[in-house]
């Protein structure tokens, strides 16, 4: 019997050892584990970073902030660098998940990121201690001019029976509720149960008209003329227009979400110095330009913007809108665990309807 247990123990030990060895391969200067949005940088820049620094990049992607958070929280993978949005950064700060950045290691960030973006960041990172802006933009409506006759300027078009089965909605809680709340003239950071109920009912009412709830697929479906109207991030507008000139992007008059996605470093980052080197590298003007040209999301990197050769794009109203001329713009706030739960519950009710 003793022998039996010894054998069993031996097997378990060897199995644990096997599990522990995960990804051990790394560059001569160690590695950095990056967790970023899908299609959110030019892969070439990673290769360049690896060649210049000898740091191996382990790269992983997420689809929404809500998918990213539990993964980081569970701790099954120790990510170093993450690129969450404003409200999620606020949530991570509130839950003590982020490390303060050492800006002595981030000279490119200090030099190249425009002042206005640092100020904007204070809404979620009050002392600019934790985050370095990477991309920013708005959320709006992308529509196909050949399928939509009238000019579009309001979220209410997403409730227009004429476009039944021709509407693409965002498949993430906050973005969907933003539309529902804004339509009814409420703040998109509302925690008022009555207002949220109204927004929920609006979304349920809209559901029969919706072709599909998607995230990044909006892009391909709009290019392929699959739908007439889609809710989309401004950064996709330039790319989709290039592929399909019939598409047009608007910011609805009821107002919308102005967001910033920023680089942050996790509290338990195993490779903090490498992580800072990575963020700094991403802020270098030539690299930021490469990324801008690849993903076409607005860059807060002023030095990189100066390098854009195409004047139409450098002064494009879509890529770099003058936010002052739009009313009711807001940025998402972290609303606390109870409100999070309420949103999730209501969203589930919409989805299961």
């Amino acid at each position: 019997m003793k022998k039996w247990f010894a054998m069993a123990g031996l097997c378990m030990a060897s199995v644990l050892a096997l599990g522990g060895c995960g990804n051990s391969a790394s560059g001569k200067n160690g590695q950095v584990i990056v967790y970023n949005w899908g299609e959110y940088l030019d892969p070439e820049t990673i290769t360049m970073f690896e060649e210049e620094t000898g740091i191996r990049v382990v790269y992983d992607e997420f689809e929404t902030n809500e998918i990213m958070y539990p993964k980081v929280e569970a701790g099954a993978t120790s990510y170093d660098v993450i690129c969450p949005s404003d409200y999620m950064i606020q949530k991570m700060i509130a839950n003590d998940m982020l490390a303060e950045l050492n800006f002595d290691h981030l000279p490119h960030a200090k030099a190249n990121i425009g002042q206005q973006y640092w100020e904007q960041s204070r809404e979620f990172d009050p002392e600019n201690k934790y985050s370095v802006p990477y991309c920013w933009g708005t959320v709006g409506i992308l529509y196909n001019k050949t399928m939509v006759e009238e000019p579009i300027d309001s979220w209410s078009v997403l409730w227009d029976e004429a476009y039944k089965d021709n509407i693409l909605m965002q498949d993430s809680v906050r973005d969907a509720f933003m539309v529902g709340l804004k339509l009814n003239g409420y703040s998109m950071n509302s925690t008022d149960a009555a207002q949220l109920e109204i927004a929920k009912n609006a979304l349920i009412q809209q559901k029969p008209l919706v072709q599909a709830y998607v995230i990044d697929q909006v892009r391909d479906k709009m290019i392929g003329n699959e739908a007439a109207i889609g809710v989309i991030y401004s950064g996709e507008a330039i790319y989709t227009q290039r592929e399909n000139p019939d598409l047009e992007y608007v910011i609805p008059k009821e107002g919308t979400n102005v967001w910033i996605d920023s680089w942050v470093i996790t509290k338990d980052a195993p490779n903090k110095e490498n992580a800072e080197a990575f963020i700094n590298f991403m802020c270098r003007p030539d690299i930021a330009l490469m990324n801008f040209e690849y993903i076409t999301y607005s860059t807060p990197n002023d030095a990189a913007r100066e390098l854009i050769e195409d004047e139409d794009i450098r002064y494009s109203e879509i890529a770099f809108p003058d936010l002052k001329q739009y009313a009711n713009l807001e940025t998402f706030q972290y609303l606390g665990p109870e409100a999070d739960e309420m949103y999730n519950e209501l969203w589930k009710e919409v989805k299961s309807e």
Binding site: L18, G20, N23, A76, T77
Partner: protein, 260 residues
């Protein structure tokens, strides 16, 4: 005559049903346009781009490595387990077989979640190792399922005769027992390999950063737009397997790997 025609039509319809999507994928691999919504003319560029795509090649390598290692390990553990189970009392055997069948009968999503909870509570770092452990776990039942019937057919006196003739138990096993089990082991291995290759759900819950199999890679790409290189890769895999199957089928009836 009418009966055979009806049969043939029926087979053809099923065949079209099963192969229409595959045909679509193959056609898409030659589409010059980046999005699958538009036909941009014939091209072979995705096949050359594929070779330079580090991420996809890495995912392919991971997939094959995991499938190979997990099915090999499952074969070893499973075969030994079969022999052990065969020697057990009726009651004990029933319990063992019951537990063995759980991963096969249970929903993939529950198996995936349960393993994820286990790995997190053990503090394991998610990566190739955790995927491998998960795959071995769901592969073992397939091996046992194929080897068990062979073991039942074994004549125990042959093994004992070998011992009586002076062979060590190990030698007796490798020279007398194993050859009889081999067909079962091989088909178990193939089944495990295929299952591992096609698995998405369990890998989805047990994978870590930057370690992707083709399945999980495709899942992330499905959402942000599949890279056409992926179609090219699938086409290549498909054609390779097709050719392999044809070659296997040309060998004489008896030698072929039995399908259990």
């Amino acid at each position: 005559m009418i009966r055979t025609t009806v049969k043939k039509i029926y087979m053809a319809l099923i065949f079209i049903f099963l192969y229409a999507p595959i045909g679509t994928l193959i056609v898409l691999s030659f589409n010059a346009s980046r999005t699958r919504a538009k036909w941009g003319g014939f091209t072979l560029k995705w096949y050359t781009a594929l070779l330079e795509n580090r991420e996809i090649m890495q995912a392919l390598w991971n997939t094959l490595l995991i499938a190979l290692l997990s099915s090999l390990t499952a074969v070893v553990i499973g075969t030994v387990a079969c022999i052990a189970i065969q020697g057990m009392s009726r009651q004990k055997r029933a319990i063992f077989m019951g537990i063995t069948n759980i991963p096969m009968l249970n929903a993939d999503i529950v198996t995936g979640i349960s393993l994820m909870l286990l790995f997190i509570s053990l503090g394991l770092k998610f990566g190739l190792g955790t995927i491998l452990l998960a795959h071995i776990t769901f592969n073992i039942p397939y091996v046992i399922l194929s080897v068990m019937p062979r073991i039942k057919q074994l004549n125990p006196s042959i093994y004992e005769a070998a011992l009586d003739l002076g062979a060590t138990p190990l030698r007796a096993f490798f020279q007398v027992v194993l050859p009889d089990l081999l067909p079962g082991i091989l088909s178990g291995f193939l089944m495990a390999f295929t299952m591992s290759l096609d698995d998405f759900i369990i890998t989805h819950f047990t994978k870590g950063a930057g370690v992707d199999t083709l399945s999980t890679k495709i899942y992330t790409e499905v959402k942000k737009g599949i890279k056409p290189e992926m179609y090219a890769l699938s086409t290549l895999i498909f054609v390779t397997v097709l050719i392999l199957l044809m070659l296997v089928n040309r060998t004489p009836e008896e030698k072929r790997i039995p399908d259990k």
